[in-house]
């Protein structure tokens, strides 16, 4: 196996290529105001059946109204603490155990999950999620509905702007760009939604004015 490594690297180094300067870092400034960013994000999400809500009031009130009698999955951070305010949930599960101890329930019992988000991208209608021990990866993937809270002050124009605004030199275990509910066009190039990932993606935008 190590032989192959040396073999491959030798073959690559066997032929020197003239180095050329790389193009400068990609920038795509769009000059969007906050209101325009929110509009762009909303339109792009809605174009692929994403649902966007400009949240006034608490997320718990909103969930009580729109997900009555649901089996809710929530993390163990700040959102998890606020979950005690929920009045209408059938059940509230805190994701506080390794997945191996409860996988069948995760796949079969949960109706909806709710997470925070790290940022958003206006141009493509994208949520950036950085899963943590408090909000594990499968939360935004397994349940048939996923609700994400997005701070409008963290809505960037696009991926290039986000990368230039933050330090990305150390990447987390997993970083996700989510741009709508799951979909496929593998049969006759016809769009069908909700194939493997969540069938519904709802973004609650806070701090939107």
């Amino acid at each position: 196996m190590t032989d192959s490594r040396a073999h491959i690297l030798n073959r690559l180094r066997h032929h020197e290529l003239t180095p050329q300067a790389k193009a400068p870092v990609y920038q795509k400034p769009l000059g969007l105001s906050k209101a325009q960013r929110i509009k762009s994000f909303t339109e792009k999400q809605q174009a692929v059946r994403g649902e966007v809500v400009l949240l006034n009031g608490s997320w718990t009130d909103w969930m009580d109204k729109h997900f009555k009698d649901a089996n809710l999955l929530i993390g163990t951070g700040e959102l998890g603490d606020q979950a005690s305010n929920l009045k209408n949930a059938k059940a509230i599960t805190h994701y506080d155990q390794p997945v191996e101890s409860w996988k069948p329930d995760l796949f079969e019992q949960i109706d909806v999950s709710i997470t925070t988000s790290h940022a958003g991208l206006a141009e493509s209608g994208t949520l950036i999620l950085k899963p943590t021990p408090q909000e594990p990866r499968l939360m935004s993937l397994v349940p048939p509905a996923h609700v994400a809270i997005l701070d409008a002050n963290r809505l960037y124009e696009n991926f290039a702007e986000l990368m230039s605004a933050e330090d990305w030199s150390e990447m987390p275990t997993n970083l996700l760009l989510i741009s709508g509910p799951s979909k496929t066009a593998d049969i006759e190039q016809t769009l069908a939604y909700g194939i493997h990932g969540p069938k519904r993606l709802i973004t609650l935008i806070v701090n939107h004015d």
Partner: protein
């Protein structure tokens, strides 16, 4: 049957399959339209292509250094890196990892590199169950067919064909041709597999050396599920996929999704840098990356041909190819079909095995026009034609001269003698025009479809001379 005859037989079969041709024509029209809609500004498109070409060229220029950097960073992050020179090695490495983890069932995200190595077949022989989780891949797995397109593997099938397949394999479920219902069926069936699988296998779209990050592009969520739900994740990719920096990703991602499926972005972009860390509650505890060479390092030895390695596997070339739309992906009989297949396969497999593919091209240039990384595909295809009849110079492409036929070589020799000599040329022209009635009406394949072209009574040379046009 030699490679040329086998190829001709497959083409013939495809051209006589009216349903297939209709499916492809409809699919390609849609994809071309959607891509065009994503690039309304020509100047912006060209600037973006320049950008990503530069990024990919940089990767190839510094390939060894970047791969070492990638390996170091991935290792530091806790991802184990393996190097495979050829398919047998890659398959063996993956099988060993699975066996060591006592993994019996595997869910798989789409990987063209795993098609190169015929991984599924190998693992099944080892007694490991492999389930393709991408809907298109799942469909062709049921049909026991290879993919006919690198991005949309079941593009050659219509809904009725899919309905019949599902009915055969899941007779307990009601028959339906409704696409939403078929999709829901697939969700239910595959969901159980994700939950129970021991391991997940995926490809990689981009591997970032700077941060040790594996990037995966998808719409369905099966890629994320395959790389997150099981305890073990194995990724496999070609050695040319390494990217220098994270800041290279935004333009690559943008042009990939827009070129491939005409989407501004795919549903998910999944960036994996580590296995499950202390305190984390899900994600694989072990993550491996297998780097496959399989002929790529050799392709890099030729300064003109190495441009082939810039490919980011978007499929735009085949989407716009006027040959591909008529014969479909299976006719090529190769892992990679269409223009990129014509450029890559003869280099990967040798001209003696795949050189005849280069004849399936009118050199129209539609592919080169849409390639996001500006691979000069027609130039490379034509160069490989030259290599396939080359019996003189040394070449890095294996199997050079394999398609040289004495009869054809003589035709071109005679042609060059007559067209290279004004006197002979004059004679041939005179003969062609004066004796045109002797040329048979049936001229092989040409006259099967068209009437015979008729030489004029007098050549342009003669008319010009008669009209007193100056000679110099």
């Amino acid at each position: 049957m030699n490679q040329q005859q086998a190829f001709e037989r497959r083409i013939d079969e495809a051209l006589h399959n009216a349903q297939l041709r209709q499916n492809f024509r409809s699919a390609m029209d849609g994809i071309r339209q959607r891509r065009a809609e994503q690039f309304p500004d020509e100047a912006q498109l060209q600037a973006l292509r320049e950008q990503v070409q530069s990024i990919r060229s940089y990767s190839l220029q510094n390939q060894a250094d970047l791969l070492e950097k990638l390996e170091a960073k991935l290792t530091e992050n806790g991802i184990q890196v393996h190097w495979a020179a050829n398919p047998e090695e890659a398959n063996g490495i993956i099988a060993n990892i699975l066996k060591a983890a006592d993994a019996k069932t595997v869910v798989k995200g789409k990987s063209m590199v795993s098609e190169e190595t015929e991984l599924n077949h190998y693992l099944e022989e080892q007694g490991i169950e492999v389930i393709e989780s991408d809907l298109g891949e799942y469909i062709i797995q049921l049909a026991k067919e290879p993919p006919s397109h690198i991005v949309a593997p079941a593009i050659h099938k219509n809904r009725v064909e899919v309905a019949e397949l599902f009915q055969n394999f899941h007779p307990e479920l009601p028959y339906t041709e409704n696409i939403d219902e078929l999709t829901e069926t697939a969700r239910v069936i595959l969901r159980e597999k994700f939950a129970k699988a021991d391991a997940g296998i995926s490809g990689v779209n981009f591997a970032v050396a700077e941060t040790g990050t594996l990037c995966l592009v998808e719409n369905e969520g099966n890629g994320r599920l395959s790389t997150t739900a099981p305890e073990l994740h194995i990724a496999i990719t070609g050695i040319e996929k390494v990217i220098d920096k994270l800041t290279d990703i935004p333009p690559l991602l943008e042009i990939l999704t827009k070129s491939a499926t005409g989407q501004p972005i795919t549903t998910y972009f999944n960036m994996i840098s580590r296995p499950r860390q202390e305190g984390e509650l899900d994600g694989p505890k072990a993550v491996h990356l297998v780097l496959l060479d399989n002929g790529r390092s050799r392709i890099r030895w030729d300064d003109e041909l190495l441009d082939t390695l810039r490919c980011i596997r978007c499929g735009a070339c085949m989407n716009h190819c006027p040959v591909y739309v008529h014969v479909g992906g299976h006719a090529y009989g190769s892992v990679y079909p269409g223009p990129i297949g014509l450029a890559l396969e003869p280099q990967r497999l040798g001209l003696d095995k795949a050189g005849s593919l280069t004849s399936a091209c009118s050199l129209c240039g539609a592919c080169g026009e849409v390639c996001p990384v500006k691979i000069p595909l027609p130039k490379i295809i034509n160069r490989l034609r030259a290599e396939s009849v080359n019996n003189q110079e040394a070449s890095t492409v294996s199997g050079k001269g394999a398609l040289r036929h004495v009869s054809e070589a003589w035709i071109w020799k005679l042609w060059s003698m007559s067209y290279g000599s004004p006197a002979l040329h004059k004679f041939i022209s005179w003969a062609g025009t004066r004796m045109s009635s002797l040329i048979p009406n049936k001229l092989g394949a040409w006259t099967h479809y068209r009437t015979r072209p008729t030489p004029a009574k007098r050549t342009l040379h003669e008319l010009a001379k008669s009209a007193g046009i100056a000679n110099d």
